[in-house]
């Protein structure tokens, strides 16, 4: 079963390589057209990071709209914001959200947009699990993993000029927007570096523990994911863009050891989680 999942992931990854190469060409050409390589090699500014994140977030919402339950959205934002207060960064304008889709996944974008799907939320048992997943995504933002992937995909430290362009001409037909949106799609479809996923697991667990949650919330979600059939359509994208849940559990087992034992009885907050996410379960016949 496990090898099947690996083979599946490998096949999908290979299938995406040609389009990743196409993205390289596009972004390089775009940098050529703005004719200012010197500034293109600088780091992303917070504003540029936010603009890029906003495009990515809008794209995800274009694929799956937000769940129409404001109380649930606010609840997830409060949990996320509480976690973010323990992330070690204070300059990020965080926005959390629940996407209305049966697919099981969670996403982060540059600039502090973090989404969890209703399909994943419905499979969770308590707030510590939600915290584990949100903290993993927060870790991606803190470590700027997506920016790293975009730079890597472009073959250079691209972005600065393109994003300035994006900010000045906020129209959907603008060539820069088109190209950049394509590039963002590639990162979403290809996934991040596997090492960055492992790093987000380690940092995410620390953030959730610092925020006072049971440290094993993320582990519990990974246990659930590892027991799901590899050919389940709802998990196809998540499985193809992440190391297997079993490999992630093994990696955590290796580094956590007894280090978090003092925090293992911290709350899971099951009662309010069940209440706040009830609309995902309460169905009319």
């Amino acid at each position: 079963m496990k090898s099947l999942r690996l083979m599946l992931a490998g096949g999908l990854l290979a299938g995406w390589l040609p389009s990743a190469a196409a993205f390289n060409l596009d972004l390089n050409r775009l940098v050529d057209t703005v004719k200012d390589i010197s500034t293109a090699t600088k780091e992303f500014s917070p504003e540029e990071e936010k603009a890029l994140g906003r495009q990515t977030a809008a794209l995800l919402l274009g694929a799956s709209p937000p769940v129409k339950d404001k109380a649930m959205q606010l609840y997830v934002n409060r949990v996320g914001r509480w976690l973010a207060l323990h992330s070690g960064v204070d300059h990020v304008d965080w926005q959390f959200g629940v996407l209305d889709t049966a697919s099981v996944n969670a996403f982060a974008t540059p600039g502090g947009y973090v989404f969890v799907t209703s399909g994943l939320l419905a499979r969770m048992q308590n707030e510590a699990e939600l915290a584990g997943v949100l903290a993993h995504e927060i870790a991606h933002v803190v470590q700027q993993h997506h920016l790293k992937a975009i730079r890597k995909g472009a073959g250079i430290s691209a972005g600065a000029n393109i994003l300035a362009e994006l900010g000045s001409r906020n129209t959907r037909n603008d060539a820069a927007v088109q190209h950049l949106t394509g590039g963002i799609k590639e990162v979403l479809l290809r996934g991040l570096d596997k090492d960055d996923e492992y790093e987000a697991d380690r940092l995410g667990i620390v953030i959730a523990t610092r925020a006072g949650y049971d440290p094993l919330g993320l582990v519990s979600v990974l246990q659930m994911l590892s027991s799901v059939r590899a050919d389940d359509d709802a998990l196809a994208l998540m499985f193809s863009t992440h190391p297997s849940a079993g490999a992630r559990l093994d990696a955590l087992d290796e580094v956590v050891g007894v280090r978090l034992d003092d925090y293992m009885t911290q709350p899971q907050q099951r009662a309010r989680f069940v209440k706040k996410t009830a609309s995902l379960r309460a169905k009319r016949e």
Partner: protein
């Protein structure tokens, strides 16, 4: 429909109760009590199928034949043992039942269920900035977050050092 939904509820309840079967992720010493220095009552090899009885902090009580004792939570896997098909409906089945129920409640989707957020839908997606703007209304400020954390049982902030970076990852690393 009603019967299917009940099955899903029962399956979820079974998971919640923690009465699950699992396996050992590595060669494990089974201890009499949930402590590192507790007496070792048995040594079991990796992949041994065990029943997961209950959790206590960093430990989980397991049962294997006549052997009962405690191993580390991170040392067990809830996943079905290698080679075995997931039991009956499995999580996949639950998800499908869940989908069916959702379709009924939304009144808009057809019987095939809600469109998934997969690679295909992402490739074809166009940005929805309006949805993003509407979400901004549910942002939480720091005060709101602190208020949630203070509700009993309160979430208490802790000083926790970073976990070490392992020297080598599994062979499944970067492509």
């Amino acid at each position: 429909m009603k019967w299917q939904w009940m099955m899903a509820v029962l399956a979820l309840a079974a998971t919640a109760a923690g009465a699950e079967s699992g396996s050992l992720a590595r060669d494990s010493e089974v201890r009499k009590e949930p402590f590192n220095d507790a007496e070792v009552v048995a040594s079991l090899p990796a992949q041994t199928a065990v029943d997961l009885v209950k959790r206590k902090g960093a430990w989980v009580e397991i049962q294997h034949g006549e052997t009962r004792g405690w191993v580390r939570m991170l040392g067990v896997r809830v996943a079905p043992a290698e080679g075995k098909a997931p039991a009956g409906s499995g999580a996949s089945g639950i998800d499908k039942l869940f989908n069916t129920a959702r379709t009924g409640s939304s009144g808009t989707a057809v019987a095939t269920g809600v469109r998934g957020l997969d690679s295909e839908s992402l490739k074809n997606a166009t940005p929805n900035e309006q949805a993003l703007d509407s979400l901004a209304g549910q942002k939480a400020d720091e005060g709101s977050a602190r208020k949630l954390a203070s509700e009993p049982p309160p979430l208490k902030s802790q000083e926790v050092p970073h976990l070490p970076t392992p020297a080598v990852f599994s062979q499944e690393g970067n492509q």
